[in-house]
């Protein structure tokens, strides 16, 4: 019999805070190629080991190994690499623009570029992505105009969102990219509803939704999983576990108790745990889940294990809450370097070509920023103020008409 003792409240603590040695021993790493790949029509009850595995394709030498290794052509991989490189260069450039006072806010996706780029290349333009603010690489992989991103970030006269939305909370319907918002998780259920609508209409479109590991604590996440499970919604539900939610480590959301992929178990939905810094693994896992969705087999939950290498946003200083050298110790490496090495190993890419790609992306970003600056940066240019009163309703009611008149616009 257990001895009676006073109760102790457990407060989770990350392995390392500033000044301490980074420690990622908690990340359950498994060798590339080790995780099995069941057929997509396997019963969920026979896949309950997968949330505790780790789908990895690229090994330390840059070879693609194991049952998940996708057969992707050279040009496909070049496009994926380009989307990731472009994202990183764009992020760095726009971060600088913020420091120069050209915009009010920005968020980088450094280290997480594969999470948007690879799924974007798996899904069609008619499918719908319900993004987080850290998957702009989804748009980059679809050649979304950089100028539109810049104009949105500058909230200038050419802002496609008419100056109404915070920088980077994009919306791009024609690119299958749903309207972003700063409220976390509240669009996770929209993806399920959208997918249910597609099934209801006997359409062939599917949905993909992202949520951060921190946001899995929101009720929206669990409500969405319930509906996805009950109605077999053709949706891919992706958790981007980048270890940090601003200053809160992943254990604050339950990551020290089980894997985030294991949230799937209580809902009877297949769950995958995937190396999120491995472009090929992200691609393969998304394709597997998409095939399930398109075959009326319902939803899949995927945890992408990754690392937020930069701060949360331009307002954040991560050295205040984690070791300053922690990013260098992340064991799953850098998604761009890993795909690049793989392509070089396969013999259709080189350091020279990579440098040329970076230069080309840099040139395109500079051109887009320059074009945006010519229209105007934040405060120097804005859409017509009458836009403030539009789109509240489809047709403005008397209040909006009168208030617009009162403001004189």
């Amino acid at each position: 019999m257990l001895k009676n003792s006073r109760l102790q409240l457990h407060i989770p603590r990350p392995p390392a805070r500033p000044g301490e040695t980074p420690d990622f021993s908690y990340v359950d790493l498994q060798p590339a190629g080790a995780c099995r790949r069941p057929p997509t029509d396997e019963a969920e009850s026979r896949m309950r080991d997968l949330p505790f595995g780790l789908v990895r394709v690229l090994d330390d030498d840059g070879s693609a190994v194991g049952p998940w290794a996708p057969e992707l052509g050279d040009e496909h991989l070049k496009r994926g690499l380009r989307a990731m490189v472009l994202t990183r260069i764009f992020d760095d450039r726009m971060f600088k623009c913020h420091r120069q006072g050209k915009t009010s806010f920005f968020m980088k996706s450094t280290g997480e570029e594969a999470l948007g780029a690879a799924p974007s290349m798996v899904l069609g333009m008619e499918d719908m992505c319900f993004p987080t603010y850290r998957v702009v690489s989804y748009l980059m992989a679809r050649d979304y105009p950089l100028a539109d991103l810049v104009n949105q970030i500058f909230s200038n006269a050419a802002d496609p969102l008419k100056g109404r939305q915070l920088p980077i909370l994009y919306s791009a319907r024609r690119y299958g990219f749903y309207s972003l918002s700063g409220n976390l998780g509240s669009r996770f259920g929209h993806a399920v509803g959208w997918a249910m609508a597609s099934a209801y209409m006997e359409d062939d479109k599917i949905a993909l939704a992202y949520v951060g590991e921190g946001t899995t604590a929101e009720g929206d996440f669990h409500e969405a999983l319930t509906f996805a499970s009950v109605f077999h919604a053709p949706v891919i539900l992706a958790i981007t576990n980048n270890q940090w939610a601003i200053s809160s480590f992943q254990g604050t959301a339950g990551g020290q108790e089980t894997t985030f992929a294991a949230c799937s178990l209580g809902y009877g939905i297949p769950g995958l745990r995937v190396d999120g810094n491995d472009f090929l693994a992200v691609h393969a896992a998304t394709a597997w889940a998409a095939e399930r969705a398109r075959s009326n087999l319902g939803a899949t939950l995927i945890e992408f294990v990754t690392y937020r290498a930069a701060g949360h946003s331009t307002s954040d200083d991560p050295t205040r809450y984690r070791p300053s050298d922690e990013p260098r110790h992340w064991p799953l490496g850098d998604p761009i370097a890993r795909l690049k090495n793989h392509m070089i190993r396969r013999g259709f890419w080189s350091e020279e070509e990579h440098a040329a790609l970076e230069a080309e992306c840099d040139r395109q970003v500079r051109e887009a920023v320059k074009a945006g600056e010519e229209i105007g940066t934040l405060g120097k240019s804005k859409p017509g103020v009458e836009e403030m009163f539009e789109c509240v309703y489809k047709v403005p009611d008397w209040r909006l008409i009168r208030q617009r008149q009162e403001l004189g616009v």
Partner: protein, 339 residues
């Protein structure tokens, strides 16, 4: 023309829209096989199939999130929240998502959802089955809030709400589902069949959103109300014998400001009645608007008759409910006031 009670009229509106538009589908807790706890969806699953009318998990946030996603896809979902008291878990979805989707996306996305929910007291439902949360929605830019007071209006307004391209909160005064309850207790409820507005066409028709109904014309005082309170006000006006103009707002957003202003400028007196609590209730907005628009026509202070600023109490229901006596007293004060 068949005589319908309000439940039958709502059921008929849903039936008509399911028939007319394959993009319309209906879901909520217990709405499918069982037909809803108030029977509003009775028979619809059987007639139109389970894909058009089905039960959901007990998850108001999930119901509305699902509806918004369906709406963004291009459907016209009609979600039921079983009691308006239980809509609050979905408040974030309504405020942060449904109301702002069109605005924040530069008009790229919108979600034409209709959220039906029985509201209001008078059924001994205590504080969990009696709430009148309309002001919580009226305050949110991007939402429309509609409240019918008769079977005819309920069907016509609900069809308008479903066909509207903006999100609409459709609050159903459950106390008058079965008859035009006028707040007088202890006497048998008159059935809707004795009321002219129970004549409801079987097919499609609309009552436009944002158009108030002058249910009783008059010259001496304007009485503004909606839902159950329309009938309470009519009873009170009869009791007082006042020459009152009773206006049923029908929808509080969009608000028919012209009808309100025209009437108060004519009568010079205004009594505002709602069942929801007073402080920051919708009556406060009405009172402010009337003051702004009609100040130099007013002959008396504006009167508000409302629920008290407490949660809806069970044993004290009829002490809380703004019945004909309180409304009569307010009308009398307003009519008799002299500058």
């Amino acid at each position: 023309m068949p005589a319908m009670n309000m439940i039958q009229a709502i059921n008929s509106a849903l039936d008509v829209m399911l028939e007319r538009d394959p993009r319309v589908l209906i879901f909520g807790e217990d709405v499918g096989y069982f037909g809803g706890v108030f029977r509003a969806t009775d028979g619809l699953m059987e007639k139109h199939g389970a894909k058009r009318c089905f039960d959901t998990p007990i998850s108001e946030g999930g119901i509305i999130a699902t509806a918004i996603g369906m709406g963004a896809y291009g459907l016209r979902p009609v979600a039921e929240i079983q009691f308006a008291d239980y809509i609050l878990p979905a408040y974030d979805q309504l405020v942060s998502e449904a109301a702002r989707l069109r605005y924040r996306s530069g008009g790229e996305f919108w979600s034409p959802i209709t959220v039906r929910s029985p509201y209001g007291g008078g059924i001994f439902g205590g504080q969990t089955h009696s709430a009148s949360p309309e002001a919580l929605f009226a305050h949110v830019s991007g939402l429309k809030t509609v409240i019918p007071s008769s079977p005819y209006d309920a069907k016509g307004l609900l069809i308008s709400a479903i066909e509207d391209d903006d999100p609409v909160i459709f609050l159903e005064p459950k106390r008058i589902y079965n008859g035009p309850f006028d707040g007088r207790q202890g006497i048998p409820l008159k059935p809707w069949s004795t009321h002219a507005a129970s004549a409801v066409p079987e097919g499609h028709y609309t009552v436009p959103l944002g158009k108030a109904n002058v249910v009783r014309p008059g010259q001496g005082v304007t009485v503004l109300a909606y839902g159950t309170m329309v009938h309470v006000c009519l009873a009170a006006v009869d009791d007082v014998g006042a020459d009152a103009e009773v206006i049923d707002l029908r929808s509080i957003v969009p608000l028919d400001i012209d009808t309100v202003v025209q009437s108060v400028r004519k009568t010079g007196r205004c009594v505002i009645v709602h069942e929801a609590s007073r402080f920051s209730g919708f009556g406060a907005e009405l009172s402010a608007l009337v003051q702004e628009e009609c100040f130099y026509h007013l002959q008396a202070p504006i009167e508000r008759v409302t629920g008290w600023d407490t949660p809806y109490p069970h044993a004290f229901e009829w002490d809380y409910f703004p019945g004909p006596q309180r409304v009569s007293a307010a009308i009398r004060r307003c009519v008799e006031a002299r500058p």
